[in-house]
Amino acid sequence: MSTIQTIPAAGSTQDELYQDAARTYGAALERLARAYEADLEIRRDLLQDIHVALWRSFAGFDGRCSTRTWVYRVAHNVGASHVLLQRRTRSQALVGLEELENLPDAASGQPAADRSHALDRLLDLIQHLKPLDRHVILSYLEGLDAAEIGEITGLSPGNVATKIHRIKAVLARQFQQGGHNHD
């Protein structure tokens, strides 16, 4: 376990790796933090924790996976730790994609009035998911392909494909006005 004494000196490759990653994936990390925490202040703390974890992790970056995979793994792992920690204080029950697919949905059939409402609805959906399914849907929304999602999460390609299929069905149901899209 790293401690404050093991923080490396400034100007190392670790700093450069971190700066590159923060520049490239900064916006994605913000979106990810938003998916793990609804409260603005706690979210800012979480985002900073993700950045700290990322910076620290680059001390052990060995290039065996892409920087992108590394960054998302670190971010999701910090997010999952946050969800576990919040479980103690929040009673919100988390569901899996399978359950979400089968649940009667209060919002289904109601139009999302604008982009902001649609985004709120999407965030609400994501924030109710169990960590592993949350990793998959977020990676999917970020545009990662099934192979990359498998590399980040550790799920088999077949399992990722099944989950993506479910995600598409859930998204379609959540965001399409009931029946109006079928002529």
């Binding site: 913000e30 620290r56 960054v71 793994r73 999952a80 999407l122 590399e151």
Partner: protein, 202 residues
């Protein structure tokens, strides 16, 4: 019948959901390596104080027992209080070793989400499922000696009644703590089983 999707916000498909997600406004927070370094220090201090809060109740109880130890002249009571202090010291040591909030592992990026999440859940399950051995059992010798001291040192039946009452309350509290932790362990095990199922499905 064809599936005609209108390009309005009511009928976005999964591709549109990706666009919606990726185009959401962000604050554009930037942190220099120097700020990160400071933040890492802050993070370690936050972990330190979080752990101190976890230990606080044990430390307060230990101070109280130390006071009782210093003020009583009955040997058996002194032995009981000393056993309590030793037991609480053991509890704090175990809390620090296995249960306390930890710093972020540096190898986080080398672990897949499944590996990391499973390790975290298993660590927490071990902590709560072994609560009897590291949290409750170390306090039992103190209570046994305190019971004997109460019976011997105080006149019958006051000493006996006080001892029975104290032991009954302690037994109920221990039972509740044990049951709550068993429930938490079962909940964590369910989550681990779900991960195993996800890991093994193709």
């Amino acid at each position: 019948m064809t599936d005609q999707k209108q390009p309005d916000s009511n009928q976005i498909d999964s591709k549109q959901a990706q666009q919606l997600w990726q185009s959401q406004p962000v604050e554009g927070i930037k942190m220099s390596a120097e700020v990160i370094r400071q933040r890492a220090g802050k993070f370690e201090r936050r972990i330190f104080w979080r752990n101190i809060r976890e230990y606080a109740s044990s430390l307060v109880a230990a101070i109280l027992f130390a006071y009782f130890f210093a003020t009583t002249h009955i040997v058996l009571f002194r032995v009981a209080y000393a056993l309590f202090i030793a037991g609480l010291g053991w509890v704090v040591l175990q809390l620090h070793r296995q249960g306390a909030a930890k710093s972020m592992p540096a190898a986080m990026g080398a672990l897949t989400c499944l590996q990391f999440f499973r390790a975290e859940l298993e660590r927490q399950r071990e902590v709560v499922s072994s609560v009897w051995s590291w949290y409750l059992a170390p306090l039992v010798p103190g209570f046994v000696v305190l019971t004997a001291a109460s019976v011997i040192a105080r006149p019958y039946p006051v000493g006996l009644a006080a001892a029975v009452l104290l032991d009954a309350v302690v037994a109920v509290v221990f039972l509740l703590v044990w049951k709550m932790n068993r429930r938490a362990a079962r909940c964590l095990q369910r989550m681990i089983d779900e991960l195993s199922a996800a890991e093994n499905s193709h």
